[in-house]
Symmetry: C2
Subunit: 384 residues, 2 copies
Amino acid sequence: MKKNYLFTPGPTPIPEEVLLEMAKPIFHHRTPQFRELLAETNQLLKEVFQTNNHVYTFASSGTGAMEAAFVNIVSPGDEIIVVSGGKFGARFVEFAQVFGVISHTLDVPWGASVDIHEIDSLLRQHPNVKAVFTSLCETSTGVCFPVEDIARIVRGTNAVLVVDAISGLCADVLKTDEWGVDIVIGGSQKGLMTPPGLSFLTLSQKAWALAGTSRLPKYYFDIKKYRKAGDACDTPFTPATGLVIALRKALGLIVAEGVQVCNERHARLARATRAAMEALGLRLFAERPSNALTAVKIPDQLDAKTFITYLRDELGAVMAGGQGQLKNKIFRIAHLGYQNEFDLLGGIGAVEKALLHMGHTFDLGAGLKSFQMMINSDTLVNIQ
Amino acid sequence: MKKNYLFTPGPTPIPEEVLLEMAKPIFHHRTPQFRELLAETNQLLKEVFQTNNHVYTFASSGTGAMEAAFVNIVSPGDEIIVVSGGKFGARFVEFAQVFGVISHTLDVPWGASVDIHEIDSLLRQHPNVKAVFTSLCETSTGVCFPVEDIARIVRGTNAVLVVDAISGLCADVLKTDEWGVDIVIGGSQKGLMTPPGLSFLTLSQKAWALAGTSRLPKYYFDIKKYRKAGDACDTPFTPATGLVIALRKALGLIVAEGVQVCNERHARLARATRAAMEALGLRLFAERPSNALTAVKIPDQLDAKTFITYLRDELGAVMAGGQGQLKNKIFRIAHLGYQNEFDLLGGIGAVEKALLHMGHTFDLGAGLKSFQMMINSDTLVNIQ
């Protein structure tokens, strides 16, 4: 009776009622039926993205919306700042290279957070910077960047702030309009509990003004085409209908829980998972950890590949290894999307079992106990 | 007991067993499990695309693969030829405008086929042309362009032939390698019987050589990234896992039927549908009709919008109206993908019922009888 459990930072588990939506017969997208669905979905997206601006949906992976955020606001020769502290931050630097844009890259050591004074200083040195790119949660390191503080600095300049919230959304707090974040990028297969294949973009008025000046060639990701179609509650190209239907259901679940409550659930799971890992004698990797995932250093004496593979193939607990320079150095447990404390107990039990199997020395059950203590700390306090 | 029937040229009905694939729990894409699925899917795609070259899958609408076909092979200032005889042919001309490429456009009247001598003549006039873009089936008019003949001409030049087979694939014959077609573009929601959200691209060696020279900036649709990842049976960005799982099932059904038998089924349905429309006194629109859909002129005395809406909202038979310059002039019945003769009898019955409701004068039942005669013509001949 082996079962599979997804503890990866995307894709994340899909609620059964969302999966079943996709088993329903498909319908045509140029109909009142679809326009109604889209209108409802767009309204829910605004609530989850915490913005009054329209949230546009692309049929693409998250990288598609990242490219859209880039090509719609800059022009060849423009200057930008990229806060790059992992694989996904580095992607914006790659865009700059490909599209002929000058990136003043703030290279943050992987696992570290950013010193916002450095962003401030870079902005003063380069007053012509058009945009600052950062992540909310950098998926490859598990770091949550201080977006609220970054926004406070960028908001006073002519630059727009672009936040890759693909893995952070729903898990880490992101008050788009309240903080003055100009562009937010999202993806379906993370906190939004929907299969991969949809990505999202929302733009402030300041970002739209910049978009009006962009001279990079674009077609499929040309946001103006989406705005034009969106005004009639339509899409410029055939939408990924089945995924949109699934998304609507998933967004409904998130809004019913409440975005703030959803954030708090992720924060509680993250705190308890960190406590569990430390109780096992493992060391955490991220300086400023995200609520979406916990990155854990793999002890030197442990073979990373064997550990991850044993978890996946023997125990059915799928976790992610390290990417790029972190390959074989960390593993990542996601507590993202459709996950609760009882799911995580299974995941932590699996980590303990894999450590035991590999002959690692630790206190068996200590991870589970710490998780349980931390998750129930409020109740414990009330009892005492 | 109203039911909905999709007779639109995309999305098309999804087989129940394909829908159910998407209701299964999702799994992670960087696993042997997904690589095996992808390898099997890629092999099936080659059979359906009738090529020995790799068929790459994008998470995007069909337009994404059209853009990929464009930006990967040309450079600013290059010359191309576009055979433009409808909304989708015209899209390549739009790409040329956006990406700074010179299009020698062969404007074919909508509904007409192309005179291949004109392509030959254009190629002689412009010997530096890098690529010729055409459609197999132009979805907006229902015309099937003579790709085999076009390929015979282009093959002898330095130019590559790019064929948009998004709606034509599986319905119209397309022998990619045998005819020497260099680039074929596909989409999931047509003959491939899968929901929208995936698009496809295959390139010949000649096309790859041209891709090596392209200087247009690209990232998400950069085919070299897909080739690099594909060599390890992987994807450069998160794939639309659920849709790929559905696709594998659908491709299995097509290959089990046999691509040639599948083409013949579409041809039979198309012939019988045309016979039915003519028996109702309606006039066909396409000069060289595709097997994917039948475009029918709407009689002057009939209000197009009322007719299409009545079919959809009262009878549950969803058909497409005209697009662009054909708005309110034609309607389009698709017999594409997961459709058989008994489904089409329902569709033709609905067209007759809508005509009757609108007071149109015609011989009630004549469409159904003609369809039945044409579909069973082989058997009738044997009996006589």
